[in-house]
């Protein structure tokens, strides 16, 4: 194998290795997605098992009810006997629902409204105060305007009432701006409560879409995993080939050196048999 050919092959193999390593890396980047999918599957299974269990826990099997009745007992007495444990079962259900809610289950419309209630109360109070303040500030402006109409005012007095009018006009403008902002915020809060159900539905749709996307992504991950396996296989085979090529090259070099050695021996033998070039020339001269 010529050195040029060998170098080309080596370079090709190195490229193959780089590519295979790159593909392997892509697959590893998706390990987080695989983990999340596994966790979500486990959660769904646990939730389904819990719901089944919560439904069955307080139910007396039909055959036992019949047995009780056939022995002259009745369901009311049975219910009295199981009341305490049934209460404990209810307690577990309530406790679980609370824990799940704390860990991020979607909030209900009422809970959401309750959460916004203190803010809305503050806003309503602030709006009332601002309205009163604006009314007082407008009165001050009106008073200044009235005083400016007076004919007995000297220059200083006129300036004083002009300053007063400007001051209260600016104050009233600032209060109106603040009132506008508070009204907008209150409206926004109420709108959010009003659209809670719609937004919840939209979020549920988004979750559905995200799940679908995740499922598509998982399919892609599956394909990539297969590609990764193939890439690893190709990588191993490429490495083996690289090792073989290196060994081959060493073998060629060894054989070449042996050939050179033999050629040198042949050359020496020829010299012994036929003499050197100089000997020939001498014999012909």
């Amino acid at each position: 194998m010529a050195m040029e050919e060998f170098n080309k092959k080596k370079s090709d193999l190195e490229n193959q290795i780089t590519q295979a390593e790159g593909e392997a890396e892509i697959t590893l980047d998706n390990s987080e997605v695989i983990k999340l999918k596994q966790d979500l599957e486990n959660l769904e299974k646990s939730k389904a098992s819990y719901e089944d269990k919560a439904e069955q826990a307080e139910v007396t099997p039909e055959n036992q009810v019949k047995q009780v009745e056939s022995l002259g007992g009745n369901e009311t007495v049975l219910a009295e006997k199981t009341a305490e444990v049934d209460q404990k079962i209810e307690g577990v259900k309530e406790e679980t629902a609370e824990k799940v809610a704390v860990k991020g289950e979607p909030k209900g419309k009422e809970a959401f409204a309750k959460e916004l209630e203190p803010w809305n109360t503050d806003l309503a109070e602030k709006i009332g105060d601002l309205k009163n303040r604006i009314s007082m500030q407008e009165e001050e402006v009106a008073r200044a305007n009235e005083n400016l109409k007076r004919t007995d005012l000297d220059a200083a007095g006129k300036k004083m009432w002009e300053d007063s009018r400007n001051f209260w006009t600016n104050q009233a403008d600032a209060s109106r701006r603040e009132l506008g902002e508070s009204n907008r915020q209150l409206e926004k809060n109420n709108q959010q409560i009003g659209t809670f159900d719609t937004r919840k539905e939209e979020s549920a749709n988004k979750v559905e879409n995200a799940k679908k996307e995740l499922s598509d992504l998982m399919k892609e991950v599956g394909d990539l995993t297969l590609e990764h396996k193939n890439a690893v296989k190709a990588l191993r085979s490429a490495e083996a080939e690289k090792r073989n090529s290196y060994n081959e090259e060493r073998e060629v070099a060894r054989l070449f050196s042996k050939i050179q050695e033999k050629q040198s021996l042949v050359s020496k033998a020829e010299q012994k048999v036929y003499g050197t070039e100089d000997d020939h020339q001498r014999s012909f001269s």
Binding site: L43, V68, L71, G73, K99
Partner: protein, 57 residues
Amino acid sequence: MTSEQARELTAIYDEAIRKLNDLQVERQHIIKQYIKELEEQKIKALREDLGLSTNQQ
């Protein structure tokens, strides 16, 4: 939802399942005990009807 949230919720459900299992066993024990009581009462009544001693097994 993050992986951690999912695992925390799974742990809550698993813990609840364990508690409900224990309570269901306790509930079954109460029902079986009541059935046993009713059976004993019935046997006692039968014995009395037949004029047998209630101490006899």
